[in-house]
Every structure is written in structure tokens, then in C-alpha cells.
Amino acid sequence: MLFVLFALSVLIFYLTRGLLPPTSALAPYITPRMDDSAKLSVARAVGVATNSCPSFQAFISLQNGCIVPVWEQYGAWAHNVLTGNWGYSLLPNVAPLTPTWDVFWSRFPYTAELAIAAAVLTVAFGIPLGIISATHNNKWPDHLSRIVSLGGYSVPQFWFGAVLQIIFVLYIRVNGLGLLSTSSAVATNCGICLMNPGTITTYTGAPVVDAILSLNAPYVWDSLLALVLPALTLAITSIGAITRIVRSSMMEALRQDYITLARSKGLSNRIVVYRHALRNAILPAVTVTGLLVSYLMGGVVVVEIVFSWPGVGNASLAAANVLDVNFLELYVLVTAVIIVVTNLIVDIAYGVLDPRIRY
């Protein structure tokens, strides 16, 4: 587990520092007013230029012996990173010399909220659809859930999100019903602009959680409404995947001998399905939880852009456009930590759920 994170940090460091010109690592620290000697001393302080480098021009033209080798840079970087220093951010709309760490964590709660909401939707729709599909094999609930699952993993997420926006704004006219904010009513200085924002205290940075903690009911409603469409868009593919996994493992489980035995004992259908079959059928769905989390963390990039969601996925594209290597490194490694920890939890949960498995 630690090996994966270490190897990934080497990989991402090599990509962003070894393959990109060394000046891109320097960009957040220099201002246009600096003269060349000041820039050179910044480059030395950042750890990309050697002390023997004669001038900034020599550094820019990648003169021999001017650039610190990447593996030496990695050592210094790893030390900084482990002490919490991820450098400054280069993102637009962020004040110069803002630590990347602060920028990332101010945006991260939005992404976490979106991903968790999508995970909740995935479980809430995917598992019941899969069960109904298996118990009503080849009847209309089965056909419906097969359409949902096939459509779910065939639909481009950006298109699904855009179509939801078009339907709800152009045709159902939710803004006319007062459900979503209209352009004249939005406040200018807010993450997600709501119609009647009110005030909330920032506890976590995630709007729904903060609104609940501040006991501001209108804000809870608004922030939940703002969450529904992006979360559904993010969840649609994983709903399809989970439905199909639960369906096939449930059908497999319902064919087993112990189900026939349970039925012949005279147990009710509900107990047979939900107590005997589901407990065994749910295991394959638990196995893919790690993949699901990985999928959600990747999907947020597209969904946040379609819905202008102020999270880290949206910022990562801006970071890619301005070559903000610090932000990209932090984003990749935080995501990797989340996925690796999820996989660990899944492995442990698997041992608990399935007594046959012992580590």
C-alpha cells in the first residue's frame, strides 16, 4: 500500500518535473518584475537550479550542470511534501503566493460532497434495481433495469449532464417554479450561487453539511437542489455497473441449492431473497467498491466542468492549462490515498462479510 503511493509519487514527479521544462516548477514563485539574478536565486531556493549555475539565461537554456538532477529534486520535494509544504498555487482567481495545500482543501469539500452524494445514489438505485431485475427475470422490471444499466454505462456523462440542464431549464423551467436560482437572483461572491443564500457558518466547507450544522433550512434545501443533478450525472455510470453486477450475482445465488432448501422449508420469498440470497450476492458488489471510488474521483472532473461545480476536479483542468504542477501532484496523490485506503477497507470488510476468507 505504501509502496503504491511511493511509486505513484515517483511517477507523477517524473511526469511533472522530469518531462516538463524545469521552469514550470518555478512559475508560481517568480513575478515579472524580478530581474534575472533574483529569478536565479529563486530557482536555487526552489531546488531546480544548481549553485554553480552562472546565470538565469543559462538555466533557461538548460545548460549542462545548471539543472539539479530529477532524483535529487525528488528527495528535496519528498521532504517538503511530507512536512506539508506543497509549494504555491498558480491557479487563476487565486492570490499570488497562496499555498497549494490551502487552495486544494478549500475546494475539496465540494468534490467530496458531490462524490459521496453520487455514491449514495449508486447504492440507493443500483442495488435495488439489481435485486428486482434478478427476482423478476425477463419481466418488465428486469427490462427496465437492463435498459438503465446498459444506458448507464454507454452514456457520455457530459452529455447526460447537459441534457438534464437543457430539460430542466428550457422545458420544465424550474427557474420559473422557483426551484433553481435565476440569473438575476444569484449572489456574486459564493461557491454555488443560491437564490436565498442566507448565512451559514463554515464548519467543513461542504455546503449541505454546513447548512445542516448551522440549522439554516432554506440553505439546506437550496444546496441539496444544487447537488441533485450533478450527483445524478456522476452516478449514472456506476448505477449501471452496480445494477449489472448485483443482477448477475443475484441470479447466480438464486440458482443455488441452499435457496431451494430455504424455499422448501416454507420460508417466505422475502426472507429467502433478502436474508439468504442477498448476503451472498452482495459480495461481488463490495469487491468493486474500490473501482467505484476510483471511477467517481475521475468522473468528478467532467461533471464539475459541466455544472461549473467549484471543486478540485474543475480546478485540476485549470491547473493543467496553466501547468500548475504543484496542484496536479497534490490532486493525484490525495486521490490515490483515497483509493488505496478504500481498497484496504474493502479488503477488511470482505473478511468480515465472508467468513470463508481469512487473511
Binding site: 511509486a7 452529455w159 476510483s294 490515490a336
Partner: protein
């Protein structure tokens, strides 16, 4: 390899198997739909440059106008602009015929999808086979390397790779290959692990066949079907990934006719010109649905547990 008398029986059995599979296929409407869509997409790919002159994509002058002259659908927008020339799907943000651009875009996406899947299969067969057959340290090393790539969302790694390597169609392809191969390595490895136990491998050993020959000729031939089914399913997924990447702006040129690229013009004009995002998106949905239906159906047909 000649097997004497039983060779013809095996061949006969295979032919009967195939005939039975085709029989099952005829009864399965969804597979037929998938087959029609997939073959249609391939035909469109082959014919696209005959149907539409590819030079139209970069034709000057690029008029910045959004035309829609279909009186039946008016999108509920009052200020939709109509143009004298007839465009069946309207024009895109550069004033080009959207239908022509979609026809030009399908081959671009499909080519990337085939390149990615073919490379992933190749890497998967070579390294997954090696890991499963050799076992021990080699297996461990290859598995740990796939772990690294599976610990990061594919789209995120692809973004970083495209930013680092530069924006062009080849780098887009390479970036997706780099994120895609670990799944095939794992799939091939598990296939080889189960094939390795079978008696025919032992017989080959006894006949004095070398490791590479056993692995890459005999085992691969028996283990490759699940991989081909996965590949059919993945054509759709790769197209979804490519179009998502170009949609968020990692595109070599805004003028490139590529489905995600065409759709990305639409997000800025989403309420003034909904057709810009709807039609390219529907095209992606259809292609991906077609290959998914085909792959699903083939898997059902070849899965012996579901046969009888």
C-alpha cells in the same frame, strides 16, 4: 499440430459450437441491434471520407454563426437563428454543417478506440501471460506495477499525461493506452492461471514443448475469448473516455472534428443552441451502446452456464 483422427472431431465440434452460437444469436434481438449498430459504425468509418470532403473541416471562412432551420423542432427558444442553406442538424459554432462534422468525427474516435484496445490486448497478452505462466517474482513485479496504475483514476492520469506530452491525437491515444493496459494484464493473468492447470498443458510439457510456445501459442489460443469480449465492451468505454478528454478541452485543435470536441462547443451555448451538444452526444451514446450490446450478447452466448 496434427492430432490424427480426433483432430477432425474437434474441428467438427467447434463448427457445431459455432453454428449453435449463431443460432442463439439469431434469437437474441439485442445482439442483432448491437451488431447492426457496430457494423454501421464501421461502414460509416470506412466511407466517411467519400461521403464528406474532409477539407470542409478547415474550410475558410469560418463564419461564427449558429444556424438551425428545422421548423419542426424549435427547441423552445424564440431567438434561434435560421439560415438560408439547409442544414439537417444545424451548424456548429464555426458555421460548419454539424451532420458533416459528425460523419467526419466518427472515424477519428473509432480509430483511437481500436488503437487503444489493440495495444491494451497486446500488452495484456504478453505481460499478463508472462505473469500468470511464470509466477513467482515476475508475477509479483507485474502485479505491483498494475497496482500503481489502478490506484489513480484513468481520466486523471490521462490529463496529466496529455499536459506533459503535448496535445495531439497520438498523445491522446498513448495517454489512454497507458491508463488502459493494466485491466487486460490482470484479465489475461487470471485466464492463464486457470488454463495452466488443464491436462493439455501437461501433455505439451511431456511432448517437450518450450514455455513460450506453450504460453503464446496454446494457452493464449484458449484464453483469448474473454479478452476479445472485454475488448468489444471496451471500444465503447474508450470512445467515452476520449470524448470526455476532448470535451474538457484537452484537444489538439478546436477545429478538429471529433465527437467530444464538437460537443464541447455546445456547453458554452447550451441554452441558445442545444443541438450543438445533443447530436454529437447521441452519436457517442449510439456507438457505445452498439458495441456494449454486441459484447454483452456475445458473452451471454459463449457463457456455457447461460446456454441451456
Amino acid at each position: 499440430m496434427s492430432q490424427g483422427g480426433d483432430g477432425s472431431t474437434v474441428a467438427h465440434g467447434r463448427r457445431a459450437d459455432l453454428r449453435y452460437a449463431l443460432h442463439l444469436m439469431r434469437g437474441n434481438k439485442l445482439v442483432l441491434i448491437g451488431l447492426v449498430i457496430s457494423v454501421g459504425t464501421l461502414l460509416l468509418t470506412a466511407l466517411s471520407h467519400l461521403l464528406v470532403n474532409p477539407a470542409l473541416a478547415n474550410q475558410e471562412p469560418l463564419a461564427l454563426r449558429l444556424c438551425w432551420n428545422n421548423p419542426v423542432i424549435n427547441w423552445g427558444i424564440t431567438n434561434v437563428k435560421t439560415c438560408p442553406t439547409s442544414y439537417p442538424l444545424g451548424t456548429d459554432a464555426f458555421g460548419r454543417d454539424l451532420l458533416q462534422m459528425i460523419i467526419l468525427a466518427v472515424p477519428v474516435d473509432l480509430q483511437i478506440a481500436f488503437e487503444v484496445v489493440a495495444s491494451a490486448i497486446l500488452i495484456g497478452v504478453v505481460f499478463g501471460g508472462l505473469a500468470g505462466y511464470a509466477g513467482g517474482l515476475v508475477d509479483e513485479a507485474i502485479l505491483r506495477i498494475t497496482d500503481i496504475f489502478l490506484a489513480i483514476p484513468a481520466i486523471l492520469l490521462a490529463i496529466v499525461l496529455i499536459v506533459v506530452l503535448g496535445r495531439s491525437l497520438p498523445t491522446l491515444t498513448y495517454a489512454i493506452i497507458i491508463t488502459w493496459w493494466p485491466y487486460y494484464v490482470r484479465l489475461m493473468r487470471s485466464q492463464v492461471l486457470s488454463e495452466k492447470q488443464k491436462p493439455y498443458v501437461e501433455r505439451l510439457h511431456a511432448m517437450g514443448a518450450g514455455g513460450p510456445r506453450i504460453l503464446y501459442i496454446h494457452i493464449v489460443r484458449n484464453a483469448v475469448y474473454p479478452i476479445l469480449i472485454q475488448a468489444t465492451l471496451d471500444i465503447g468505454s474508450v470512445i467515452l473516455t476520449v470524448s470526455a478528454l476532448t470535451f474538457i478541452g484537452l484537444t489538439p485543435s478546436p477545429l478538429l472534428p471529433e465527437l467530444g470536441n464538437l460537443a464541447s462547443q455546445g456547453i458554452a451555448n447550451i441554452f441558445t443552441a442545444p443541438w450543438l451538444i445533443i447530436f454529437p452526444g447521441v452519436t457517442i451514446l449510439l456507438i457505445s451502446l452498439g458495441f456494449n450490446l454486441l459484447g454483452d450478447g456475445i458473452r451471454d452466448i459463449f457463457d456455457p452456464r447461460l446456454r441451456r
